[in-house]
């Protein structure tokens, strides 16, 4: 159920069932279940990269393919969140960086949102993305490493000893 901007009423105006249902019932339903997509990784293999330029963490194609989430919004603001565990091995300083690609453009820019070092650790962020237009939007998790001599690994529930960890990626319209 999409959000409909409610009309300001005046004293004496008849609130019909249609008006009530549009302004109250449908909008409450829209607030209860806003456009939202999420994915928890439980994969056959982990993700790796040694690209020093930002690339999609998951190179799969098609709508809502793992770390690509597609939603159609009625407003302009979306929360995007990721949590996972990342290692960055190789020549020091061994760094891995993360960003979100929105409709083909990186949101963070430069070196992205955040980074992890050395043997890594938890990577978790929540970002409010504003200025979107109503309609369909694509959100993709992207990453890179400092240099080609560094290998970033995102553990993806692939059964790795002591690191059988399950990241989550979600997007939700908030306004």
């Amino acid at each position: 159920m999409a959000w409909t901007a409610p009309t300001t009423r005046t004293t004496g105006e008849l609130i019909t069932a249609a008006i009530w249902n549009t302004d109250i019932v449908d909008n409450l339903a829209a607030l209860k279940a806003p456009p939202s997509e999420h994915y928890e990784l439980n994969e056959a293999s982990n993700y790796t990269t040694n690209s020093a330029s930002f690339v999609d963490v998951d190179a799969g194609t098609g709508a809502n393919t793992k770390l690509r989430r597609d939603i159609t919004i009625g407003g302009s603001e979306v929360l995007v969140s990721f949590s996972g565990h990342v290692a960055a091995a190789g020549s020091a300083p061994n760094l891995a960086y993360f960003d979100i690609d929105v409709d083909g453009a990186r949101n963070g820019g430069d070196d992205g949102y955040n980074t992890c070092v050395a043997n890594g650790g938890p990577i978790a962020f929540t970002r409010l993305i504003t200025g979107l237009t109503p309609g369909a939007h694509i959100f993709k998790l992207q990453w890179k490493v400092r240099a080609a001599g560094v290998t970033g690994t995102l553990y993806a529930g692939a059964g790795t000893g002591s690191y059988d960890l399950h990241p989550q990626f979600w997007v939700r319209e908030v306004s």
Binding site: E43, A44, S45, N46, Y47, T48, T49, N50, S51, A52, S53, V55, D56, V57, D58, A59, G60, K66, A89, G90, V145, A148, T151, A156
Partner: protein
């Protein structure tokens, strides 16, 4: 950036990174792997031949059958692991290249003759570590294989 994707399960992604860099030099931006398979990231300047070469490397990665008679050896310089590559792809080759990586660092490299379609290497060590033995075809028909031996 141009991407070449091959939907095939990946083993030894770091070996694939090395192979791609060796084959394409500065045209290779990197390699990513995951449940989707593997993708080579190439510079915009890479031409059709280089894109095809990247696909050849992806398809040839970890296709040689390499085995060891011991998954673990004692790090005493005496205990020996015998590593064998007996694969139809190298039957007509004169020799193959090999590299030995210890804990991700190059430990030894060289080439060895193919005898009767088989290459046999031996590994001893006086230091502990995880040794990855990589066998790679010489020439343009890239193919590689890997096996891991622990020295404890």
């Amino acid at each position: 950036m141009q991407n070449v994707l091959v939907a095939k399960a990946v083993k030894e992604p770091v070996g694939l990174q090395r192979a791609m860099a060796a084959a394409l030099g500065e045209k290779s931006i990197g390699v990513s792997t995951g449940p989707y398979g593997m993708v080579a990231h190439l510079a915009d300047a890479a031409d059709a031949g280089e894109l095809a070469l990247a696909e050849t490397v992806l398809n040839g990665h970890n296709t040689l059958m390499v085995s060891t008679n011991k998954a673990t050896i004692t790090a005493d310089g005496v205990d020996v692991a015998t590593v064998t590559c007996a694969d139809g792809a190298i039957a007509a080759d004169g020799a193959v290249n090999y590299m030995v990586w210890r804990n991700g660092t190059l430990y030894a490299e060289g080439s060895d003759n193919v005898v009767g379609g088989t290459v046999t290497l031996t590994l001893t060590s006086v230091v502990t570590g995880t040794f990855v033995i990589e066998v790679r075809r010489q020439g343009s028909d890239y193919a590689s294989g890997y096996v891991t031996v622990e020295a404890a």
